[in-house]
Every structure is written in structure tokens, then in C-alpha cells.
Amino acid sequence: MGMFGGAYNTIAFDANKCDGCGDCMTACATAKTGTVDQSRSRIQIVGSEAEGFELALCRQCADPKCVTVCPAAALTKNYANGVIDWNADKCVDCLLCTVGCAYAGIALDAGTGHVAKCDTCDGAPACVPACPHDALTYVTTSRIYNEVGDWEDLFAPGLAGCQGCNTELLMRHTLRRVGPETVLATPPGCVPGMGSVGFNGTTGTKIPVFHPLLTNTAAMLAGVKRQYKRVGRDVTALAIAGDGGASDVGFQSLSGAAERNEQILFMVVDNEGYMNTGMQRSSCTPYGAWTSTTPIGKGPGNIPSQGKTQDAKNLPLIMVNHRCEYVATASTAYMEDLYDKLDKAIQASKRGFAYLHVYSPCTTGWRFPTDQNMEVARKAVETNFVMLWEYNPTDGLHFTKPVDDPLPVTEYLKAMGRFRHLSPDQISHIQGKVVENLAFVKQMAHREAV
């Protein structure tokens, strides 16, 4: 278990849904004091309809200031459930904690003369079901952080990825999950480019790792897997490949391995181009995008060069048409979803071909600030520019994060420099394709489900 304990639950508040009715406070007061005196509630809704409502409640902080300032050790962090426990026997009623807390999460209860704070009602907070507007929810936080933190990071420290690289994040999570009984193929691209296979005699990975050719990842991996199967050893065959190798020059071996239903987990890290070798266009590069081989210029014959002139190849849909054991799209902005799919893909790869397509923003090649990585990844989903779904032959295709009320695609496009030059016509082409692609996948989801 990590320093801050296991998976923690917390009470989340959506101010947009709150109308200040106070039912939560009544419920809390009833549960904790046996009265309906809202002033004695551990949860306090403050503010007004005009200025908006805010929540005053213990956040069960990971780095709790109340605990730090308490001179009597009456407040302690419970590493098992994440709750800040208050011990009445030790408390000297100095109230320093009420000053230390920035969230007004601990306050004097006039009815007892001592401080009082939320203890989450032992995991069943009375306030949450009392809210008539679902403004309060009881959610699990840091599950992935806490769980994954205990698994070994199978990449060596100091990989030479770009600052803020999404691929490194994805690789470290993936390998932690897949574990040491794995053979990892990393074809030429960002994954080995940052040192996964090592330089001059050193290795970047703590499990067997190799450079296939850009063209033969799936075939080489199939050979490895088949031999272990032959000798009765359970070894996971994992590829972490770029979109260029998978969708372009390596597509034949990918398709062949999928058709033969080789027992492989093939993960494509789609950063929409040949980013490691200088940000050139791939067949997964979206329409209109600047790349180093689809540059912007005034063009020959007064026809301006305005980025890629074709739409992206939809590789995951092509893989669905191989009827793989499992196919899914994922995004690092939705880690729970990604982990769920990774688990399913690992299991599927023990039966046959599993394909995971992860949309992976590239701070260097897409031209956005390094701290905007998750925001760009999230906007891609919120605009339906990319769709998160999964497929297996039994249940067909279905959306895992459906976005029924998408943002306009410009919210995504304006987040990065590679689309800076787009004309209104180009933007409208992209918006049209988003609608068309969504309709197509929806049709497929409907058809596959039948």
C-alpha cells in the first residue's frame, strides 16, 4: 500500500446542480447529532442563488493541514480509508485546526463545544442520497494512483521522451499492468526512440524487449508467442507500436496476424504521424493537419498548401472487421476506461488477437504547451473528434464514453498549433467528418449489437 493508503472515496459537489435547499445539511445533522439543526451539520452549503453555492466540507486531504497544526495529535490521517479521524479524548479544543483548514471542513459544533468534521458516515454518507438534484456524489478517487503505485514500473527511470510526453505515461501504465511475464515489441518510433530498448548495451526496460522492424512487429511477436505456447509457458506478447508503422508499412503483418488470430496484445499509440522521426504525415494524420511533409505554404499555381488533404484512416474500425477477440479505442484522459480496456485486452490476448488503439496527443508534433496534454486528449473526446468504444465478437461494438452533447470541434482544433492555419472551409470539412464518423460508428454499434 502506498504512502497515502488505498483507494479513497470522497464526496464530490457539482455547484451547477445545487439550488441551496439544505436537505443535505438536515440529513447530516440528523445522522450525526440527532437534531435537524443545520448549523450542526458537518456539511455546509454557503453562498446564494445569485452568486452560486459553495461547499464547506472536509476534503479528507492527502496532505492535511489540520493534522499538521494540531498540537495534541487528535487529528490523524487514516491510511486505510483516507478519512481524517478526530479523537475526542486527545483534543484540547484549541481550534487551531479550524484555522488551518482552507475548506472550512472542520468547525466548532456549538452543541458539543468541540470541533466536528465529516467522517463519511463509515462509507455511507447520509448527505449524498438526501440531495434531490444529484449535486452530491460519493466517488472513488485515486484508485488507479493507489493501485498502480504498488505495481512495479517496468521501464527504467530516465527515458528520453519529450517533456510532457503522453506516450511515456501510457507505456509506464501499460507495462505496470501487463507485468513481468511479458515479451515487449517496440517497433521504430517514439517508444524505442525514448530508449525503451536501450542504447549501446544498456536497456530501458526490465522485461524482454526488442526492436522489430517497422514492418514486422505482429509477425515477430507471433513467432515468440507461438513458441512459448508450444512449450507450455504463459507469456504475454505485447506490442506498443506507433500509428505510422501499424497503419502504413506494417499493416500487412498486422492484418495477417489478426486474421490468424495470433495470441497478441497489439497496442497502437496514435499520435497521428511519424513523430519520432520528425513529425511526418501518416495515414492516421487527420485532415488539415500540419506535418513536416504536409507543410503550410502558398502552394503551386496559387493553390495554397494547407496541411493534409485526406482524412485519417480509421485503423481500429478496420481491426473490428478482422473480427478480433477484442478491439477498443482509449484515451489517457479517461484512465479508468483505459484500464478497464487494458484488462479486457490482456484477457482476450490469451484467446486470440487483441487490439487497443490509444489516441495520444503529441506536445511536440501537435504544437501545444506540455501542460495541456490531458486537456487536448479530453477535448478530442468531448468534441467527438475521437470516440471511445469497445468491440468483441459476442457483444458487438458499443460506446464506453458516449458524448451526446459534443462541443464544437473548434474547441479541440484551437487547442493546438498544427491546426492554426485552417480555413473556415477546412474547419467545416472537419466538423462534417466528425458528424459523419459518429453516425457511422453508431450504425456499426447498432448493427453489431443485433
Binding site: 511479458t182 515479451v183 549501446n200 522492424l213 509477425a219 515468440v224 490468424r260
Partner: protein, 415 residues
């Protein structure tokens, strides 16, 4: 003939060998089965197809216990085997012509990774012009890529050499992939009597499988396979250079190992093939012709007739083409005054046959001038007949008293 001696002679007597009538492709398949590979990957291409069909049938009939991968092309065929070998599998495939060309990217890499993969090349001429017939152009085109390449003369030699190839490849002093080249059409479809070695005797000959002791993809001994090397910074090119040097050493070691293994084969199975270079009626000859592969049969008949007619001509046949058997050739060349070299493919850069081009380098090392010339025949499945070889003999004999022509002689130009 060059021979090697074993320190301990093989005492075992081979069991009675089954006699069969098979084509060369089936003989190769039978040899593969006897060598017990774990994995074969297959893709059809003329004139190789019946070879992998025979392998597939042997597996389907339960006569061979190997994982067969019907890959989607030759590129993946070799790639699957690379993965298999890195996981410890003994591996085999076969190809030719355009299939070999398509396979080139992983082909180049196989020798670099020192993987002892065995692959038959059922030799086919290069396209274009379009052709599906025999010729050495495919194998010759990849002669500089670090695979050991041996050429067979007969169907029996195909069978026996296919088995020996695995042992050569896996020898710790070699650890290189091996091509057994058998002539498309002439050997692939040529049906001959063969003696089939007994499985137990082959098992005793092969010994324990030892494929990935030096490089592996195995969670029990994790390592990075093929990390980046070279460049002008850091450790610089040292790793790469030492690696390449090791490959070249492995190639040179294979000359000795091929001799030893052929000698062991002769002792165990009673069939002796010249491992590197065969001399035929060379003693007492003033001049010689040089051959490769199945054409040698007709050439030997022509030599016999020429000798009966009083011509002092002998024959030198190369079996091991890569690495080029320089020392063995120098011993043969020391006996003659002129040489005619017959190729079944062309060398575009030198306007001669590739074997002739290689031979010129050896002649330079001889230290005295021997006139020589190049003959090109048997392209696109053409037959090189005894009659053709008489032309070769006559033209070569003229080198004893006349200047050597620079241009090659094209044997089938007017056939």
C-alpha cells in the same frame, strides 16, 4: 577434394536406410522433418511451392511435430521465424525469386541477429522479364548479406544437406542462418532415387537443440534485443563494429564447421559430399571449367567425353558459395593454367557471371596469372546441356594460347 578429420571417428553404423523415389522439393521436406524443427512458416511461390506443401502434409499426417504458420507473405514468414528463434525454436522455411526479394528486409537482419534459421532457396531467375523458371539470380542477389549459402548438385544431396544445415547453423562457432540452394525446376521437380536416413541416426547426429543461448526474448532471462548502437557520441561505433567483426568471424568459422559436419555425415551415413569445393578429374588437367549446382551433372559427362577425346580438362564445383571458399579454390587453381566459369545468373556491374566475378578475386591471390573467362547459361529455366559444356571446354582450352575475351559467352542466346 577438401576433407576434414574428426578426432574421434564415429563408430555407430547407420540403420538400413529406406529407399524412395522423390522430387527435390520432397527430399528437402523429408530432410526438414528429420531435423525436427519446432516451427515452420510457409508461403507459396513457384517453383518452391511443392516443398512447403510436402512439409504441410507431413505435419498434417502426424509425421512431423512442428507448429506451421501459414503467413500472409514471405516478409512475415521470416519475421515469425525470427520471433520463434528468439524464443528458442528451431525454425525452417523456403522461398525463391520475388518471394526472397520481398523477404529482404528481415532477411538482412537474420544474420545480424545471429539467428540459426534454415531456409531453402529453390532458385528462380529474377523478374523482369517475367519468368517462373529456375536460375540462380535470386540467391546470387543476396549473397552479400551474411547468410551461409550452399548449393546442391543432386536430390540426395538436397536431402542430406538440409539436415546438415541445421547443425551448421546452430554450431556455437557459427550461429548464422543457412540457405540450402537447390535449382528450381532441375532439382525441385527432378525425381531421383534417395536413401532416407533413419530418424534415430539423425537424432544422434543432430544432438541437443541449442538455438537462443546467445540472444533470447525470455522473461526468465530478460534482455533488450537489438538496442541502438553506433553514432558519433557516447560509446560510438565500437559495439556495432565488434558485432560486425563477429559476424565475419562466424562466416569464416563456418568453412571449418561445414567441413567437419560433412565428414561426420559421411562417417555416420556413408555418403560423402565435397563440403566446400569438389574437384572432378582435375589431376593431370591443364585447364578447368567451374560449375555450381545441378548443371554439374551434365558438365561431368562433358568432361568425361572430353577426357576420352584426349583433352586435358577437369572440373571444379563450388558447393559452399557463401562464405566464398577462397583457400580451397586456391588449392584447386594451383593445378591449372586456364579457367572457364559457368554461371546461371548475371552480374550486372561487371558484365559477367557473379561466380566469375568472385573467382577473379581469388585468382588475384593466386600470385600468378591464369587466363579465365565467363559463361552465362541456364537463365530462366534454360537447360545447360552436355553440348553447351563442350562449347565451354573448347573456348576455355583456347585460353591456353589466345588472349582471354572480356565479354561473357551467353550459352542459350540462340537456343
Amino acid at each position: 577434394m577438401t576433407t576434414a578429420t574428426l578426432e574421434t571417428p564415429i563408430q555407430a553404423k547407420p540403420a538400413k536406410q529406406k529407399v524412395m523415389l522423390v522430387e527435390g522439393n520432397e527430399a528437402a521436406a523429408l530432410g526438414v522433418a528429420l531435423a525436427r524443427p519446432d516451427m515452420v512458416a510457409v508461403y507459396p511461390i513457384t517453383p518452391q511451392s511443392s516443398l512447403v506443401e510436402h512439409v504441410a502434409k507431413l505435419i498434417a499426417d502426424g509425421k512431423m511435430d512442428a507448429d506451421i504458420v501459414d503467413a500472409e507473405g514471405e516478409h512475415s514468414v521470416l519475421s515469425v521465424l525470427q520471433g520463434g528463434a528468439l524464443a528458442g525454436a528451431r525454425t525452417y522455411t523456403a522461398t525463391c525469386g520475388p518471394g526472397l526479394a520481398f523477404m529482404f528486409e528481415p532477411y538482412f537482419r537474420t544474420s545480424g541477429m545471429r539467428l540459426p534459421i534454415v531456409m531453402s532457396i529453390v532458385t528462380r531467375d529474377g523478374i523482369t522479364p517475367q519468368s517462373v523458371w529456375g536460375g540462380h539470380q535470386d540467391a546470387m542477389t543476396v549473397r552479400e548479406v551474411g547468410w551461409v549459402q550452399v548449393y546442391c548438385e543432386t536430390v540426395q544431396e538436397v536431402l542430406d544437406t538440409t539436415i546438415m544445415a541445421f547443425k551448421i547453423a546452430e554450431h556455437h562457432d557459427v550461429m548464422l542462418p543457412v540457405n540450402i540452394c537447390l535449382d528450381g525446376n532441375y532439382l525441385s521437380y527432378g525425381t531421383s532415387r534417395v536413401e532416407l536416413p533413419n530418424q534415430e541416426d539423425v537424432d544422434a547426429f543432430m544432438g541437443a537443440k541449442d538455438v537462443n543461448w546467445h540472444v533470447a526474448l525470455d522473461p526468465l532471462r530478460p534482455m533488450a534485443v537489438d538496442p541502438l548502437t553506433g553514432g558519433s557520441g557516447g560509446k560510438g561505433p565500437s559495439t556495432f563494429v565488434r558485432y560486425r567483426k563477429g559476424q565475419c568471424k562466424g562466416m569464416q568459422n563456418s568453412l571449418r564447421v561445414i567441413e567437419e559436419i560433412h565428414e561426420e555425415w559421411a562417417q555416420r551415413f556413408g555418403r560423402r559430399f565435397a563440403p566446400l569445393v569438389e574437384e572432378y578429374r582435375l589431376d593431370g588437367a591443364d585447364y578447368a571449367i567451374m560449375t555450381l549446382g545441378s548443371m554439374t551433372g551434365a558438365a561431368k559427362d562433358a568432361i568425361d567425353e572430353a577426357r576420352d577425346a584426349g583433352r586435358k580438362v577437369g572440373l571444379i564445383k563450388i558447393k559452399t558459395f557463401s562464405p566464398f571458399p577462397i583457400d580451397a579454390l586456391l588449392k584447386s587453381f594451383a593445378k591449372i593454367q586456364a579457367l572457364g566459369v559457368v554461371d546461371r545468373s548475371v552480374g550486372f556491374r561487371w558484365n559477367c557471371g557473379p561466380m566469375y566475378q568472385e573467382t577473379m578475386g581469388v585468382l588475384y591471390r593466386l600470385g600468378r596469372h591464369i587466363p579465365s573467362m565467363s559463361f552465362i547459361g541456364g537463365l530462366a529455366g534454360a537447360d545447360i546441356t552436355v553440348g553447351h559444356f563442350h562449347r565451354v571446354i573448347e573456348a576455355t582450352e583456347k585460353l591456353l594460347s589466345n588472349p582471354a575475351p572480356i565479354e561473357p559467352v551467353w550459352l542459350n542466346e540462340k537456343d
